[in-house]
Symmetry: C3
């Protein structure tokens, strides 16, 4: 898997896939910078009047419901349907799943459109499988990622999407395989939107990879690796955020071989 | 007061209060990062369809009118009313008070709902007390904070809120007491949204403190202290912003005792 | 031209012009910080209910269509018309020109209002002159800035605006003169919104300068110079963004004389 990720990273740098983001207002800037640092080309467009044309131009689509409005809810549905119609892969970040009926309704509609990949924290994945049954606290997870694996597998079977669960250990789940990523750093929970950046990087890899499972693994793994490398030189979350961009920019085969810590096994 | 602030900071780190922000688009990312660096848990939700449910979940509410729209104006009124109904404390940041009739109308409606705390710069506090009578220049203050203390006291009497005025000296005003914070640094005026971060930190302390006056003092004082400590190692406003997060993250009893410079006196 | 730019910079620091931005959601924070670091005073207001009043207060107007919505499209037209009526200079950043009919329609309407200055990358300027004829890829340019000079000159003749084209070499075009800026650094393309910051700085200089051509040259030249100086000390795009603010803050006559590399010639 390491060699594969190294190859996918080289492809992103060479092809600079255009990644269409309909994302939340908190992370627009940081998401764009994460994609640029990796080597992809972000475009942020959310008006219902033009999302179809941008889905046409882009190689992949990222939907992130963090700061949902009636307008962006409509745009997301239009964009996801159009992506399905023309065969574009798309990734869903169900930020704050479970905090309101409005949000759960949109998520239910988006799940019916069968996202290529879904990435969330433990609370979000548990909530997605089991609307309204989970004790959610805002947008930060109240559960350990390991506790959500069973829910993630059930969600995978239900929707057919690749499921990614971020946490102390990150999990990437397909019908046949599980990948565990043992990178990252606890301080990453004190920078806003790093999960959203992980989702965006999945979007970049979806834009160039044949297999969604491999794209999801590359996106999750490289964000966690960059975070771990950055944390080693950061006295706090301010410098951590800045150093993550620098590390994403500098990622190469040697660093990946030296520090990436992933395990894959069959289900 | 120092020991109290140290204790309140420890409570924030332990309880991680969920702080609901309906805030402006310029500072969404920096506000979330300031709250996370301190130890709180931010959630940014502004759709009228879900603000009530998030007020229910959160321990406090932050309203910031910087980039006002018809939509967020409605959300703010709904959220503030609901916060009052269920006894949640809330803080108002009247960014750009006085620059338009639309803004002044919303502010008049919000004042009727009696915010727990109001924090602004000198121009904003003067404008709030005396709509349309002040010579406002955009969102940066044209007056010294000291010149606004009289207006702040009158506003305190009128509305009953704790009033905070940011500036070279920060003032926190209650019916009985005044606190002066003699921390901060002039370069802080060349980073956008540090006043908004101060407001958000007040929100974090409102989420765990019994006394709004103490929460307001802790929020204002610790942002100014972090800014001062950060400025000492920053060649310009870019690194200042980054270092403020690192300093907020590292704040502890020793630093507060060594460098916090506040005075309290009766009115 | 160097001495002129030095003088204009001193004027910005002294007068702190209020720059009204109706800009895109990705760069609101970074644009505000670039303006503050230079010494100007940004205000971000986009509600149709209050844009006229803020145009009245401000010395210049910046319109950036990056994350266009029906609402901001309306606000931009209202603001540009009002700016023309009261004689305020304004600069247009046609982000993503050509990616949709919605965007091209708004741009056609804005061109009729004759912006004082237009700044874009090569693809955007080529698309503006020749709607729908250019092979656009999202918001990053697919063409070299030199290839767009002819289009820029034609656009200049057509609309009468000063035209700025960002790229490896930046071009500033008036009816009579061309300026080339040979500063900047390739890593700048991996930070989001630096072109938008360049546009915002043009706005700051328009707020204090008599000649739009000189204002445009100062804005473009100083952002590229700050980027070049920052890149020399930045291991990646994260630190580059931070260091650009520090460099903008520290710009002075000595640095400009030592490192600014511009050429002016008649057409």
């Amino acid at each position: 898997m390491e060699d594969l990720i190294i190859d996918l990273l080289a492809q992103v740098k060479r092809q600079k896939p255009l990644v269409h983001n309909i994302t939340n207002l908190v992370v627009m800037n940081s998401t764009a910078n994460a994609l640029l640092a990796l080597g992809a080309s972000p475009v942020m467009v959310h008006s219902p009047s033009e999302v179809r044309e941008v889905v046409d131009l882009a190689q992949s689509l990222v939907l992130n419901i963090g700061t949902l409005s009636e307008l962006t809810a409509e745009s997301m549905l239009v964009a996801a349907e159009h992506a399905n119609n023309i065969g574009r892969p798309w990734v869903l970040d169900p930020v704050g799943a479970g905090i309101s009926a409005f949000r759960n309704d949109l998520l239910a509609n988006l799940l019916e459109l069968k996202p290529t990949v879904i990435r969330g924290n433990a609370s979000e994945i548990m909530s997605l499988y089991n609307f309204n049954q989970v004790n959610t606290k805002g947008v930060d997870s109240t559960a350990d990622s390991k506790a959500a694996v069973g829910y993630g597998q059930a969600l995978q079977e239900q929707v057919g999407s690749i499921i990614c669960i971020s946490g102390k250990i990150d999990y990437i789940l397909s019908e046949q395989y599980t990948v565990e990523v043992h990178n990252g750093h606890p301080m990453m929970t004190q920078v806003t939107g790093l999960g959203c950046s992980s989702t965006a990087l999945i979007g970049a890899f979806l834009g160039i990879a044949d297999q969604p499972f491999e794209a999801a693994t590359a996106g999750v793994a490289l964000l966690s690796l960059a975070g771990q490398l950055a944390a080693a030189k950061s006295p706090g979350p301010g410098s951590l955020q800045v150093n993550i961009y620098d590390e994403l920019y500098q990622l190469n085969a040697d660093r990946i071989k030296a520090d990436l810590n992933i395990k894959q096994y069959g289900n």
